[in-house]
Symmetry: C2
Subunit: 419 residues, 2 copies
């Protein structure tokens, strides 16, 4: 069984000028990995004829599957379709099913007051040498081409449209066309230990890993995910992975949050669901971001009651009953304040647990005593409150994110130790 | 004056396997653009010797500046440094200033209980043919190489470390080394008109654009940013751009939110600051995301008081005073509920304006009457409330984001019409 390789080509000046972050490639890579296809090259080019052409030439030399996203919009900066037509030696023809679909979308879904424009009609034109892949979520269809045993798929860059085309058509086509190897991952997540100390801790184990298993360190906001990957024959691959993974879990047990590829917020959701318990948040400096993280999980309404985002001190006093005296003496960023915020939000939300945070995220608002990055977090229930001070040293965005991650982690630990 | 081209090479299996989204490239591209350098190629490779080597060869053929991120961590999956050593014909030597910096970080900043590990010391080793670029935020230094008149910079993939090295060293080096052309942008943001209708509206203007000006459409969540870019001699470039931009603003005036490259939340912050007025939010389905958007802006405490995230209906009743009868008869996702949420949050937060949202974000929770994507939004003040129903058709994440964007936009319009 050969390893099947894919390349991703993203087209569009908006990616190269940096106004859009490419989230498509990560999704495509993850999903292809699951079915045993390895993305080992990715290239981004602008809306430039020769650059796109060369990317098609180059990637088809090294990959079996070439996935192309972007460059298919209705506006004049898009040159991909005529180029594909010439590259694969076809001519543009109107695809009637696509035209019907575009017309339907405009009349019944977008409900545009204006009639279908010529440029919208043109989106239903496709090279006569491609297989049309219906785009259920939008007007630009996917297009499948074949050349020298390689397959090429062109899709719009809009994430949900690309995903729909991949799910409805492309994964199935790849499974049919290629004899895919078995690929398998095992992932665990650690918190509170740096990458290098973790590496030291598992050094002997890592050096003894059998050559068909690869280890990756994926650090992010105080967490490090450790991922083992192996290819090969199913039974042996899984067996080897399970043995290596079991040993690894023992080695990192003091730092391990979970032995699956879950986010921190998914993990806390699971703990609460298992215990049929509930939580809420009282947020100052994170401005609702912790509540957003928790509610990003579908089904979170079963355990999340809500949040009081008390950006203004008056809200801390009136809704959460933080004492005026506390704010005057030790200030809003203090252990006492987050303790009182926690008690207050438990009272309002009537949940089993809560977290409360107050801090200075920057770039302004720091003082010599409490520089930017100073944060107090409280996690607890009506009987017990744990607090901790942090000093982060990042920019505003990352300070908010890492504060939220630590808050959720403190609550996770509290739940495990107090339920 | 020649156009100066840059390429970005990102190294790391974590990017190709899709567990990490590359945000570095967008930031690098935006910042290079500002100083007149164009990124016209970007490539991602794994931790594979031959792939990295080939990327260096290929990119140096087409670019003057090659920026390399990733592959410099302290763990065993990183092969970049030995490769660079061989590629540029040097040998690894200990860089004493870097070793001192690493030691300082471990002792005084990270405050590790454990002594410096051999693998941390190794981070201070560099090829003797590079110029070391101090990494103020971390242990892996940046490295500058020169070959055949091209410059190569290798940096760690951790975003804040990469940014610090770019700001402290790389932009200055590029300015010194290259005779940079003048590059300029003009951006405006529209809301509520699709890309194709916008294109139709400005078709004649676009066709008449002088050839040194490029137009890009950047659609995102109901907004379309239109960006004009031009290179050339400063005075003429700015003059041409200003004339074209003035004409464009007249053409799209009915849809234009702002004639700068601002986000929706920056724009509402500006409106409130100008008016010395305040806002708050009452959020059900968005779970704090609107508050997070607003508070992402530094300085938002001047106009944002807070949010009641009322995920549980009991919070809607007890904190926001939504009537039991309303919830029983028309339900939580209804015009009446968001009206009452709005009145309730204005009362609690004592702000000039507020927005309230309630909806079904999916994938579960839909009914035939109120399918997934059904959302009610209210925006207003104590004298007047405007409401609107939406039906979105995305996944949970995008439904949350587009609901938030529409809520902020409704408030923006309300403020403009009622202040």
């Amino acid at each position: 069984m050969n390893k099947i390789n894919a390349s991703i080509i993203t087209i569009g000046d908006e990616l190269l000028i940096g106004q859009v972050i490419d989230t498509n490639s990560a999704w495509i890579s993850q999903e292809l990995n699951k079915i045993g296809v390895w993305v080992n090259h990715r290239v981004a080019v602008g809306d430039v004829w020769s650059d796109i052409w060369q990317a098609l030439d180059e990637e088809s030399k090294i990959a079996d599957i070439i996935l192309i996203t972007g460059g298919l919009g209705p506006t004049a900066d898009d040159i991909t379709k005529p180029l594909l037509c010439e590259y694969f030696g076809g001519k543009l023809v109107m695809d009637e099913p696509t035209l019907e679909h575009v017309t339907y979308l405009f009349e019944h879904v977008f409900k545009r007051p204006m009639p279908l424009l010529e440029r919208n009609r043109k989106q239903a034109e496709v090279p006569d040498v491609c297989t049309v892949l219906k785009n259920a979520m939008g007007t630009a269809p996917g297009m499948l081409f074949e050349k020298n045993g390689k397959i090429f798929v062109s899709m719009p860059g809009v994430p949900n449209e690309m995903k729909t085309i991949m799910q409805d058509h492309v994964f199935g086509i790849i499974r049919e066309r290629f004899n895919l190897p078995y690929i398998s991952h095992r992932t665990l997540v650690t918190f509170g230990i740096g990458e290098s100390f973790l590496a030291e801790l598992i050094k002997d184990w890592e050096e003894a890993l059998s050559p068909n298993i690869k280890l990756a360190y994926l650090p992010n906001y105080g967490m490090v995910r450790l991922r083992l990957t192996a290819f090969g024959e199913k039974q042996k691959t899984d067996q080897d992975l399970d043995i290596a993974f079991s040993k690894l879990k023992v080695l990192v047990k003091d730092y391990m949050i979970v032995d699956e590829d879950l986010t921190m917020e998914q993990q806390i959701g699971r703990l609460l669901l298992e215990r049929k318990q509930t939580m809420s948040t009282a947020e100052s400096c994170t401005g609702g971001y912790i509540a957003h993280l928790i509610t990003s999980n579908s089904g979170s309404s079963a355990y999340f009651h809500g949040s009081i985002v008390s950006y203004d001190n008056r809200i801390k006093k009136e809704v959460l009953h933080v004492q005026q005296q506390t704010l005057e003496t030790v200030g809003a960023v203090s252990e006492e304040t987050v303790q009182q915020m926690l008690t207050g939000v438990l009272d309002v939300m009537k949940t089993d647990y809560a977290v409360a945070v107050s801090g200075i995220m920057g770039p302004d608002g720091g003082t010599p005593d409490k520089p930017v990055g100073t944060v107090w977090i409280a996690a607890g229930n009506k009987n017990k409150i744990q607090t901790k001070q942090f000093k982060f040293r990042y920019d505003r965005r990352k300070n908010i994110e890492i504060t939220a991650m630590n808050a959720v982690n403190m609550l996770r630990v509290f739940i495990l130790e107090n339920s």
